[in-house]
Amino acid sequence: MSEVLVLVDHVDGAIRKPTLELLAIAKRIGSPSAVLIASADQTDAAVARLTAFGAEKVYVVDDAEIKGYLVAPKAEVLQQLIEKTSPAAVLIVSGYEGKEIAGRLAIKTGSGLITDAVDVDADGTTTQSVFAGNFTAKAKVTTGTPIITVKPNAAAPEETAGAGAVEQFAATISDSAKKAQIVASQPRQASGRPELTEAAIIVSGGRGTGGNFEPVEGLADALGAAVGASRAAVDSGWMPHSFQVGQTGKVVSPQLYVANGISGAIQHRAGMQTSKTIVAVNKDEEAPIFELVDFGVVGDLHAVLPKATEEINQRKG
């Protein structure tokens, strides 16, 4: 069975959940081979976790020559692994970095590229959501090695162990790949809440919060949810940009999205329209967000959210 390369997305060796989802998808297509670019002290734990979630093979690449640089070296690693293994496909998590690696890799290897897949079939047919979620498209790579970036939550991780055979891989990194340096990196502070792109529930707030996010955060915590924000809330400096949902923020697709004090501009919709269930609280009954909702409350979020939070906490006892 052909190998399917899965580029591992991790922070200091801690594997991020979307990678485990990719392993489950890789299994549909062929034999999952994880590509782990990490430092030596991070590999053991990472390999164990990748194996537990189905990696048959793990290519371990020492990151000493790679980690200070932006995307280009990682594309070279994958190019060399494609030459070595002739995989059935390469799967990469759809994020800023993943898409850029994929873009470079596609040119390097003369391969077709599909980004932002929300599902991938055994034959490599992908499903994408396009035009702000108004259309779905099914597509296939027809040339070269299919390179597919997959959005978080496209599949459930499967905890069935693979063989996890480790193979050290020494990649050659060119000088020209080392021309864009990461000068400094400030890891995002852990909020204690789920990550926006991975969360099953998101509670977000907009200009209607007036800058007070406490009601939004309170409801989020009662529901075990991530917190999101509109660009208006980000532009006002109330929330960091990493919380922004929409065209120029995160595109999310949770089971439940609760929009509070958000009018529902097209750019915001572009980031949340494919959520399974949508709820809104807005004091303006004409707000366009109500066109999308499964359930809406016309009212002041500063009154509705704290009361709802209290009732939820009571129910939970």
């Binding site: 970095e97 980004t115 359930f295 129910r315």
Partner: protein
């Protein structure tokens, strides 16, 4: 110093966007405009020009006949020159082919110190063309800039990556992409609109840039879209008015009925 800004002509996002029967984006039937996200790249290029000396900014668009409107808008905003690559063979090109045409056009212009792009086009929105351009031109990329600083040929940008806030640096020449965090783009002034009429605007075909028609277009795309379908419209939801706290209770009831609590 020379800057090339890549500007895409896209269907208006507020209009009813559609697919053609061959599953390509309908770029003719709906009104188009300069991709809103590319305005931020134009703006940043103009700010660099205003800060420096002897900086020439060229706007480059690969697109249909009407795409010239995108170039014109960039000229009106203040760029010095416009180039529009238009050729029937280009229709239906994917990002791979588009990046080829852009790269060849940039080589014909003469590889500049900076190639600037938007963070994503507002139609396809793949955010891959800048990386592909960098690969094709063998240049470094500094992408998704929220804040831009240059000093001589040194470039530093601040960006929010997936898990961290980063400072990324490189030496020109390089490819940069710019987010809407960089700040509002200017509107063309009356003076700008008048001045634009006299600025050089060239139209190039594929043969002008040495690309063969067989290298681009739908038929050679490295991916094929097999079907497109409009999402079923969302069924109208239940809307309640909050009176004396009834809204919160109804909301909690709904969440419980859907097993979110």
């Amino acid at each position: 110093m020379n800057i090339v800004v890549c500007v895409k002509y896209v269907p208006d996002a507020t209009a009813d966007r559609q697919f053609e029967s061959d599953n390509t984006v309908d770029r003719v039937g709906v009104d188009g405009l300069l991709s809103e996200l590319d305005e931020y790249a134009v703006e940043q290029a103009l700010q660099l020009k205003e800060k420096g000396e002897d900086i020439e900014v060229t706007a480059l668009c690969v697109g249909p006949e009407k795409g010239v409107d995108a170039v014109r808008k960039a000229l009106q905003m203040g760029v010095d020159k416009g180039i529009h690559v238009v050729d029937d063979a280009i229709a239906g090109s994917d990002a791979i082919a588009t990046s080829l045409v852009l790269a060849k056009a940039i080589e014909k212009i003469g590889v500049p110190d900076l190639v600037m792009c938007g963070m994503a086009s507002t139609d396809a929105g793949m955010s891959v063309v800048p990386a592909m351009l960098a690969e094709r031109l063998d240049l470094p990329q500094v992408t998704f800039a929220a804040v831009i600083e240059t000093q001589g040929d040194q470039v530093r940008i601040k960006r929010d990556s997936d898990t961290a806030t980063e400072i990324v640096g490189g030496t020109m020449p390089l490819v940069m992409s710019v987010t809407d965090q960089t700040g509002e783009a200017r509107y063309p002034s009356f003076k700008g609109i008048m001045a634009a009429k006299k600025k050089p605007l060239e139209t190039w075909s594929l043969s002008d840039i040495g690309v063969d028609a067989s290298e681009v277009g739908l038929s050679v795309a490295w991916t094929s879209v097999e079907e497109t379908a409009a999402r079923p419209p969302r069924t109208a939801g239940e809307i309640v008015k909050d009176e004396d706290g009834a809204g919160a209770t109804a909301l909690v009831g709904f969440l419980a009925s859907k097993k979110f609590i």
